[in-house]
């Protein structure tokens, strides 16, 4: 590669370079397409459905797929296709918002800890260690059952669920970011920025954080998948999103009544959706990781 062709194409930003690498990554692009379709299905689909999610019809219950109900009806006679879309909406929202909470907490705590170091670092990291050593499932289950005992309305439980999952899963990201900030802080360009008289806040926001963004993006994407799984697991156990509101997790829950084993149209589709979505998210996450930092490919976690 000689200099001329490089300049002929114009100068590419690191971002553009990364996007080009991402586009060349087949699984990642496939994942992105699947994810786009799932999103469209969940967020736009319900508008096209003639049914209501809470509308029950006992006489029409447990019917196999037909032209009226493409995926049949569930035990209470609700349209499974519509519930699949609505449930997906909830699952995806839980995934996205818990990740948002994680990213905010993780960046804040990890960033402050790494940048200021010393005693603040020690304190925050011990706190992070404590949070990290809490076993996720038991704590989540306890909190969720406390939630049911306190009589929180089913339609509000989803918000609490987001906070619970989010608050239990930020420590990993915080540690990751702290490590990154620690190394960045010692880089000469941070000293150079100080020597140019650039203020503290500007140095953190403009010079340091942009260097951390790739890491956060990758981790966040991967954690969306994890959060969807956590939500599904909790809902499956009846401690997450509560009926009559659907989520993929509590839709699968119908097979806890083994007689429903004969009616796969009720519980197979949500299971397939969970697997499909989480796989797509992971494919995109891995693609981002490879694209943003080729040196970091397939590392740890």
């Amino acid at each position: 590669m000689n200099g001329m062709t490089k300049y002929d194409k114009g100068i590419q930003t690191p971002w553009q370079l990364a996007m080009r690498r991402f586009r060349r990554n087949r699984p990642a692009m496939l994942g992105l397409i699947v994810l786009g379709l799932v999103m469209a299905f969940c967020f736009l689909g319900p508008m096209l459905s003639p049914y209501e999610i809470l509308q029950t019809n006992i006489r029409n219950a447990k019917k196999p797929p037909s032209t009226e109900h493409w995926l049949g009806t569930d035990v209470a006679g609700r349209d499974v296709l519509l519930r699949l879309m609505e449930g997906g909406k909830i699952s995806l929202m839980v995934g996205i918002f818990t990740t948002l909470i994680q990213v905010i907490m993780g960046t804040l705590i990890g960033g402050v800890s790494g940048y200021y170091g010393g005693r603040i670092d020690g304190l925050l990291m011990r706190f992070t260690d404590i949070c990290m050593s809490l076993p996720f499932m038991p704590i989540a289950l306890i909190l969720a059952s406390v939630m049911s005992d306190m009589g929180i309305k089913p339609q509000h439980r989803i918000y609490y669920l987001m906070v619970i999952i989010g608050m239990l899963s930020w420590p990993q990201l915080a540690r990751l970011i702290r490590g990154q900030v620690l190394t960045l802080r010692e880089r000469e360009f941070m000293l150079a920025a100080e020597a140019l008289g650039i203020s503290d806040s500007r140095r953190i926001l403009r010079h340091l954080l942009p260097n951390v963004i790739p890491l956060v993006m990758v981790d966040a994407t991967l954690s969306i998948g994890g959060s969807i799984l956590s939500e599904s697991a909790m809902s499956f156990l009846g401690l997450g999103v509560a009926p009559p509101y659907p989520s993929w997790g509590n839709m699968v829950d119908v097979i806890s009544d083994l007689s429903n084993l004969r009616r796969p149209w009720i519980w197979v589709p949500p299971g397939v959706m969970i697997v499909l979505t989480v796989m797509a998210v992971y494919a995109v996450g891995n693609g981002l990781r490879d694209a943003l930092d080729p040196k970091m490919m397939r590392q740890g976690s």
Partner: protein, 328 residues
Amino acid sequence: MAEALVEYKNLHTYFETDRGVVKAVNGVSFRVRERETVCVVGESGCGKSVTALSLMRLIQSPPGKIVRGEILYKGKNLLHEDEDSIRAMSGNEISMIFQEPMTSLNPVFRVGDQIAETLILHNRLSKREAHARAVELIRLVDIPRAEEIYKAYPHQLSGGMRQRIMTAMALSCSPRLLIADEPTTALDVTIQAQILELIRQMKRRLGMTVMLITHDLGVVAEMADYVVVLYGGRVMEEGPVHAIFKHPRHPYTVGLLRSKPVMGRRQDKLYAIPGQVPSLIDLPDSCYFSFRCDKCMNSCRSGFPPLVEVGREHRVACRLYTGGGGAS
């Protein structure tokens, strides 16, 4: 003689580590006169960089701490200024070029924007003005296709180009004082010469004062008006460049000069000062160089010798010249 722009007075900068207090700078005093180039020389770990960083107040604390002394800039003690006024001065009146051009630029910003940022900050230029001025500066440091390079990211530039960009950044606000901390160490020889020439040119054009930190005596010979030789965080010898090169007095300076290969003179073995720089943790109460010095005497083992005048503006801290004391 021009007035002193910077005056170090008995500066002590220590670092607290687990193994003890590292006395990186241990009582350094010298002056930098206006429009002169002062070179601070010495081996690695003798306190050169810390001396420079102390002036910019860039010593990270903890573990670093300026324990004692003063650094006067235009008669004002910089160590007593508050952070805001230091920040207003850094990059503006006093600016610095760092050793590693590879890592001194932020990898996620276009180099032009990095130059412009300083201009917007200190000169209150608008974005457009800053852009125009940054392009001009890039051209000033002899980079062709300045418009294009403005948009480049650091990883797309060579080491020499990056150092030019760093220089452009340092010069962006026409500083009175430029501190260059081994600006050419990481570059190859031809680029080295270009960068030095650039600094010299800019110095002339802007009437700057330059404090150059280096371990390269070739650079010293080429650039300096005045030389300060540091060892173990103390001044061993200081004087005008001619005096230092023609009549070095301190055995350490003599050693340094002897370890430089000379063109045309074949040597089987290049001279090296025996031993190593002493650990800065437990400095002995003697001349720090005495363990490596071939002229070491008994009196060298008791107390660090004071700086004494041995010529015009030429001072040396060695028992050989303190008179009387070194008789035995």
